[in-house]
Symmetry: C2
Subunit: 311 residues, 2 copies
């Protein structure tokens, strides 16, 4: 009887662990530290120990486990090989096989942003849809694309890297990826701060933003309070992201865009700024795509990881 599975999400400081039943209900969740020392050699043994300890605690054996799904930073190909996860200290490793050896049950692996998209499709903002693009607006802009209910992985696991779509030829600041003018330079938490600082410098409008340390929350709080300059910043943010999502729609024609990540705590007002520009720039065949807010927060990864093995 296969009654349970694990959904695991490796982050740079902690590993989120989820214990699910076969119906996809999250029964328990907890975290363990991510030990990145010595090129991350302890990460998988730590995870395996946590899995096996939980099984013992619940008095369940391998035969009760459908599998272990796991999301990790870095590109992950369809065979479960990670092609460098710099934050974890990993080079190329066969995550699926290595973890399988340690836990003795089937493992499936995916990129963390892609896996989060699968989670949001399954039990989050994209529920009821099978063609979903998740835009995760955090420190950077992450993405995950779901086609017919499955992750779009790409040839070497680099599909859904929507934050690095080129947008601005004239950009002088370098993006973390080494290019200039990437979408995430304008549509992430740090990107919003960049837009706000530039607007503050180029405009002499009064603004509450002039008297505080600017972060993305401060900007959207000011937007909600009617601050004209902050609204201009939000319009710019929305135009960049709407244009970027329109390009993505030209490629994969999704049913729904789900907006997640830390910045999405600003709420559905984000969609107001994004969707109107999306409609302006998108090919008419994708004009009716819906926009929804993500609902799983930082549990999207463990849900999606569980779904990898429940598929």
């Amino acid at each position: 009887m296969c009654n349970y599975c694990f959904g695991i999400d490796i982050g740079g400081t902690s590993v989120k662990m989820g214990f699910f039943n076969a119906e996809g209900t999250l029964l328990e969740h907890w975290e363990i530290p991510t030990r990145i020392e010595e090129n991350g050699k302890y990460i998988l043994p730590d995870i395996a120990e946590a899995v096996l300890t939980k099984m013992k605690e619940k008095s369940i054996v391998k035969e009760n486990i459908i599998g272990v799904g796991i999301g990790t930073p870095g590109p992950v190909d369809e065979s479960g090989v990670v092609h460098k996860a710099v934050n974890l200290g990993w080079g190329v490793i066969n995550l699926k096989e290595e973890l399988q050896k340690l836990v003795g049950v089937t493992v499936k692996a995916g990129n963390d942003a892609n896996v989060a998209a699968l989670g949001e499709m399954w039990q989050g903002g994209g529920q009821g849809f099978e063609n979903v693009v998740l835009a995760t607006i955090g420190t950077g802009l992450g993405g995950g694309i779901i086609i017919n209910g499955k992750i779009l992985t790409g040839s070497i696991g680099a599909a859904g890297e929507i934050g690095h779509i080129h947008m601005v030829d004239e950009e002088e600041e370098e993006c973390g990826c080494g290019n200039h003018g990437c979408l995430e330079q304008y549509t992430s938490a740090t990107g919003i701060v960049r837009l706000a600082k530039r607007k503050l410098a180029s405009s002499d409008k009064a603004s509450t933003l002039r008297s505080v340390t600017v972060d993305s929350k401060v900007v959207f709080d000011a937007v909600k309070a009617g601050d004209v300059l902050a609204i201009e910043v939000a319009e710019e943010f929305g135009e960049y992201l709407g244009k970027g999502l329109a390009a993505i729609a030209g490629v994969c024609n999704p049913e729904v865009f789900v907006i997640g990540g830390g910045v999405s705590k600003a709420g559905p007002i984000l969609i107001d700024f994004i969707q109107k520009y999306y409609i302006k720039y998108v090919f008419h065949g994708s004009r009716d795509a819906k926009f929804k807010m993500a609902t799983l927060g930082n549990k999207a990864g463990i849900y999606g990881a569980a779904k990898l093995v429940l598929n």
Copy 2:
């Protein structure tokens, strides 16, 4: 014994018909006129008659036919429903079911550009790869995206509409789709003429283009002859298309881009102009994607259509 199949490609003036064996060898090909009068009501009966006549001529019966694959203009969803093919006079029609009724064998249908991409993957420039983007540079810029050997259809058949990715905010001329600044306005046969005319007007460089009627062939002939102004036009074309393909790679991370369409008769020199800008703008995870020329010419559609039923 299922030994044969048909691959059919509906165009605005003629329907290309292909008769294949089960190994995918094209045994015969011919064309019939596309009768678009009376909202295209004769198109499918004409095709069915051509199929049934060929079967009779070859003394083969339905049981020998694996199926009929067909590509058509317009968005086609995964169930084989066409959502408006304006050039054919069609509204929403269930192409798969209607043709199935007429021919009495399994029919599979796809969008013509997507089906051509499948053909190029199978027996053309993308042979040996399973993650392929075809860019068809003709009157417009068409596209087709193949993921793991299958067409990326999108939620309503509008995936792969790469010609209408927004590129230029300042564009004043309208694209055929109603938007302004679409990729195909700079990277199709007509787009190249647009770029050339603008360059001729804004530059006073000598150029052989000044004394002829400019079309895309004339431009690339001048490029090959070393005409400096023509080379500037080709650079602009290459930068737009390289940037557009880089955005597409950010979404789907293909192994190979295949360059086809009438303009591709200019030869591999096209790739020289496109690829260097692709590398400049693309996310590093997709930097190694290959570039190949299409090889099936206007038979890509019948090959891809046959592959729909041989899958």
